[in-house]
């Protein structure tokens, strides 16, 4: 794991060896006076959860393990928050890991988009870890609790690494760190189906990751570089070669598999349905999003953006059109499948596949408005799905099941949990005043700006399908009578409800004041479309 060692090394090295500098615009040319700690913030974002993971695994008492893990999660969030503030303040940060400057050494490259993703992932990681204590105590045997937290931190490390790294092979390593830990996490689910779900995910996930490695191998073959910024300057000259086009194909398939783009989504429903509740919530809000982030990175930073998307492919379809068609097909098919699910977690999982379609639709539209819409939906949907799965997790905590029958009477007996669920459900539909509407609005704008009436129509139609499947769960919770003779069900404990409500309120807050995330998405879009990092 030489790559990882370099990362860990970085923290140990002092300022003298690590070269942090802000990519300066002329206006910001003044030498930044950075502290030792501030200098190494990029490394800290990775090192904190990475080093905490083995420490947590050593804790025997679950409570201790949880405390340390939660502390690590919050620290990581603070670090990424600092990074975002710095990026917004003074532009992209380039950090040479271990002092080995790019393009030979591994670079961390943090622009607005990656900083935004880092905060999102770290935020969701931190809230998941806070929520995990009660949930894990119920779903995971105490003997394995510390290992569970350790895996969560590793998964978090991997996802953060994918967002922060400017080196394509390093991204693969982080991808595998997050994937391997998530296979294991899913396998910790309480039924035996979790094993088969994890196994299937392992097979498909590994194929996806291997495709990715083939893709970057072919790129390396043509350019001799693995550094994203470097590739961006070298690739255009080779764009017409079959090798680079094959690389694009392999990368697209590999990353689409990890992002669960239809029709490569088959691993997702079972994986989400049978994983422990907190794992489902965490992965649903982060894993596919980060893969989409990497895809966007490749399309726009490495391959020079919209040029690639409008490139004429086989059958006269441009890559952008192909993505749009697949995305929309995914939205429709997955939404229809969601309607017929009888298990809330599975239903929401299918809905996730549909929502991934919206995000990629934005990318496929190949316009600034479309890309902004796709990116903002990454953020918004992360909040929405996170809240929904946290709420379902609270129901599972009480009833032991996420089946529609288990929801019966939840509206009456778990009013707070279900109220948060309703808020998040309305966001999923895209009711104005919630985050879901912001995404839908921007996506519709982007579609209509290009006169794509059919696309706009399908977006609206699938919103209606979302009404149907969200209402299916709401009706189950509020209209089905409380089952006779069942166990007495009370409201979920506060440690589950507080994180849940935090996220649910965020769904409303960012729906009424979306200027923050929209601003970040638009800045990120500009950076991406200007090419380079």
């Amino acid at each position: 794991m030489s790559q990882l060692l370099k990362v860990a090394e970085a923290a140990a090295h002092g300022v003298t060896e690590s070269a942090t500098h802000t990519a300066q615009h002329a206006a910001h040319a003044a030498t930044p006076s950075l502290s030792l700690l501030g200098d190494n913030l990029p490394a800290l974002a990775i090192v904190v959860p990475l080093l905490a993971a083995p420490l947590v695994a050593l804790m025997i008492r679950p409570a201790l393990a949880w405390s340390l893990a939660a502390l690590a999660g919050l620290t990581t969030l603070a670090v990424t928050g600092g990074l975002l503030a710095r990026v917004l303040d003074s532009g992209p940060i380039v950090y040479a890991v271990g002092g080995w400057a790019g393009p030979w050494g591994i670079e961390y490259r943090i622009d607005t988009l990656s900083a935004g993703m880092l905060v999102l992932v770290a935020g969701i990681g931190a809230v998941s870890l806070l929520y995990a204590r009660a949930s894990v105590a119920r779903e995971i045997p105490p003997a394995r609790a510390s290992l569970f937290y350790s895996l969560m931190l590793l998964c978090l490390t991997g996802l953060l690494g994918m967002c922060i790294s400017g080196d394509v092979f390093n991204v693969f390593v982080f991808l595998e760190i997050s994937s391997l830990s998530s296979y294991a996490l899913i396998g910790l689910g309480s039924t035996r189906r979790a094993f088969t779900a994890a196994f299937n995910y392992l097979i498909l996930g590994t194929i996806g990751a291997t495709f990715y490695v083939i893709g970057i191998g072919l790129l390396y073959m043509m350019t001799g570089s693995l550094n994203m910024a470097d590739l961006a300057t070298l690739v255009p000259a080779q764009m017409d070669t079959t090798t680079v086009q094959m690389a694009i194909a392999f990368l697209a398939v590999g990353l689409s598999l990890k992002a669960a783009l239809f029709p490569l989504h088959l691993w997702l429903p079972n994986a989400y349905a049978y994983a422990p509740s907190v794992v489902t919530a965490f992965l649903a809000a982060t894993a596919t999003k980060v893969s989409i982030y990497v895809l966007v990175r490749f399309v726009f930073t490495v391959f020079g953006g919209t040029g690639l998307l409008v490139l004429e492919g086989p059958l006269g379809l441009s890559a952008g059109t192909l993505i749009c068609v697949l995305a929309l097909a995914g939205v429709v098919v997955a939404s229809l499948s969601a309607i017929y699910q009888e298990d809330a977690k599975r239903l929401l999982a299918y809905s996730s596949v549909a929502q991934v379609g919206y995000m990629l639709l934005g990318v496929g539209l190949a316009s600034p408005a479309g890309l902004s819409a796709g990116l903002i939906h990454v953020f918004n949907h992360a909040l929405i799905k996170f809240a929904l799965f946290l709420a379902v997790g609270a129901v599972v905590w009480r009833t032991g099941s996420a089946h529609m029958a288990a929801l019966a009477g939840a509206g009456k007996r778990m009013p707070w949990t279900m109220a948060a669920f309703v808020i998040a459900g309305l966001s999923l539909i895209g009711v104005p005043g919630t985050v879901g509407f912001v995404s839908k609005w921007m996506l519709l704008q982007a579609a209509l700006a290009q006169q794509l009436w059919l696309v706009a129509g399908l977006i609206l139609f699938t919103s209606l399908l979302a009404v149907v499947y969200v209402w299916k769960m709401i009706e189950a919770a509020y209209f089905r009578p409380v089952p006779e003779g069942g166990p007495e069900i009370a409201e979920a404990p506060l440690s589950l409800r507080l994180p849940l409500w935090l996220v649910a309120l965020a769904c409303i807050y960012f729906g009424l004041d979306a200027s923050g995330p929209v601003g970040i998405a638009e800045t990120a879009t500009r950076t991406l479309l200007e090419g380079g990092a």
Binding site: G430, P432, K440, M442, S463, V467, F479, G511, A514
Partner: protein
């Protein structure tokens, strides 16, 4: 800290709802909070009205949601009429609700009052909305907050009705209205309500007709046929809900939005110049007549009232679609006139249900002798629906007819005349039977009863009185209605 007066109007019922939620399990406190909130709200709206009629202006309030997409509130004449009607009748309706909910021992009363407060707050938001986004936000919020009221009884029947209610209202608003709003925004780069409209010069023939179609059928709450079915479905709700929401707040929010879109988004001039927009007149006319015919056949009193509402709502749409300033003023007036009349009719229906447990028109023989107040009020409401003086319905119909006559829209004139006859045909027999037919003898099926509890009677007498008062003293509302179309009174 001084809160902006418009914000306060939206926030007052919201705060009331919160306080009601905190008063769970304390009926008296809950009802007191409702009444006090309703009174406070009405007082604020009245102050705003006095201020506006006195020529004062209120600066709009804005909150940026997305770049270029603010949540904005402002005051204009039509919104004032709607706010005045909805907040004023909320007080009366709250008194009525107390009698009704207690009289019928309804469950989940806290939820009922909370959702009611929320719904009123969102209705105020609609009334004061300064742009399409704000309107859409409160419009959807109103749909969602009334859903628990429609399904109040629980059980399979309520769930099915809830599905129809939500299904039609949400699918039209998401499928058509949102698309229309985004289209408008794309075409013009703005979406604020502006006198004279914003679309002129940005949308050509025949897209104007298409866009109008998306708006009119997107605003499902206006119940233009064939998207009217949610309204009869909503009648499973307790009567106070049907009375205030499905005769006043919700449906009026629909036609209010229709008028607002026609006047402030399209502009009368653009529509007059666009032959592709002519269909609206015929669609509204057809809805008026067909709904009246269906109403004739309904034996369930509330369903008959519901179809009557559908027909009356289309009067407003028809009046707006005539596109003459006088008829548009008539449309605005009819929003108020129909509100007080129809709420009286629903109050009477609920009163009959509470006192006699009767729901069918055919059971009402001679009931006027037992419940003279209720049926007297019913008669006044019915006359207003038909448009007979001295009731408010006459005034608004007069303005509509004048507008249609002046612009030589003979189809509209014909529809109004014909529907007046139909209105008479389905309302007057009820009044006749109630007062002049002999009541059935008292037996197990027809236990003896008297009037409903006093809050109910007080409420329906008040609204019946308002129906007459609005005819006798129409000045404030009329001034607003005329200000809407820029005519000097």
């Amino acid at each position: 800290m001084i809160i902006h007066p418009l914000l306060l109007i939206v926030a007052t019922p919201l705060a009331g709802a919160l306080l009601i939620a905190l008063s769970a399990g304390k009926p008296t406190q809950r009802e007191t909070v409702t009444l006090v909130t309703a009174g406070l709200l009405f007082w604020q709206v009245l102050r705003l009205l006095a201020h506006s009629l006195g020529g004062g202006t209120v600066s709009p309030v804005e909150l940026a949601v997305m770049p270029g997409v603010p949540l904005a509130l402002s005051v204009e004449p039509l919104g004032l009429i709607f706010a005045l009607v909805a907040s004023g009748l909320w007080i009366v309706n709250s008194v009525y609700s107390i009698g009704y909910m207690r009289g019928n021992n309804e469950a989940h009363q806290t939820r009922f009052y909370v959702c009611f407060g929320l719904a009123i707050s969102f209705a105020m938001g609609i009334a004061l909305a300064d742009n399409l986004f704000t309107l859409f936000l409160f419009y959807e919020a109103l749909t969602l907050s009334t859903y628990p009221l429609v399904t109040h009884k629980g059980g399979a029947e309520a769930r099915e009705a809830g599905r129809v209610y939500l299904g039609i209202l949400m699918s039209t608003s998401i499928g058509f209205l949102l698309l229309a709003i985004v289209w408008t925004w794309q075409a013009t780069g703005r979406m604020d309500f502006t006198p004279g409209g914003i679309l002129a010069g940005h949308v050509d023939e025949p897209e104007v007709g298409l866009l109008l179609f998306l708006f009119m059928y997107g605003i499902g709450k206006a119940a233009l046929m064939p998207i009217h079915r949610w309204l009869p479905a909503a009648m499973v709700a307790p009567t106070p809900v049907s009375a205030l929401l499905h005769a006043v707040a919700v449906v009026k929010a629909g036609v209010f939005s229709v008028v607002k879109v026609i006047v402030y988004i399209f502009g009368l001039d653009l529509l007059n110049a666009s032959p592709s927009a002519d269909w609206l007149l015929y669609a509204a006319g057809a809805t008026i007549l067909i709904a009246s015919l269906i109403a004739l056949k309904q034996d369930n009193l509330k369903r008959r009232l519901a179809y009557s509402t559908i027909s009356q709502l289309s009067y407003v749409i028809l009046a707006a679609a005539i596109l003459a300033p006088l008829s548009v003023a008539g449309a605005a007036l009819h929003i108020a006139a129909h509100a007080v009349g129809k709420i009286t009719l629903f109050f009477a229906a609920g009163s009959i249900y509470t006192a006699a447990h009767k729901t069918q028109v055919s059971q009402l023989d001679g009931i006027g002798r037992r419940m003279p107040w209720t049926m007297g009020a019913f008669a006044i409401g019915a006359l207003s629906m038909v448009g007979v003086p001295p009731t408010a319905g006459f005034l608004s119909k007069w303005f509509m007819l004048s507008g249609a006559w002046a612009t030589e829209q003979w189809v509209a004139v014909g529809v109004i005349v014909l529907s007046t006859l139909l209105n008479a045909a389905y309302f007057l027999p009820i009044v006749y039977a109630a007062f002049f037919r002999a009541p059935p003898p008292d037996d197990a099926h027809h236990p003896p009863h008297g009037e409903a509890p006093w809050p109910i009677v007080a409420a329906l007498t008040t609204t019946a009185g308002l129906t007459v008062l609005l005819f006798l003293f129409p000045r404030p509302v009329l001034d607003l209605a005329l200000a809407l179309v820029g005519a000097t009174p």
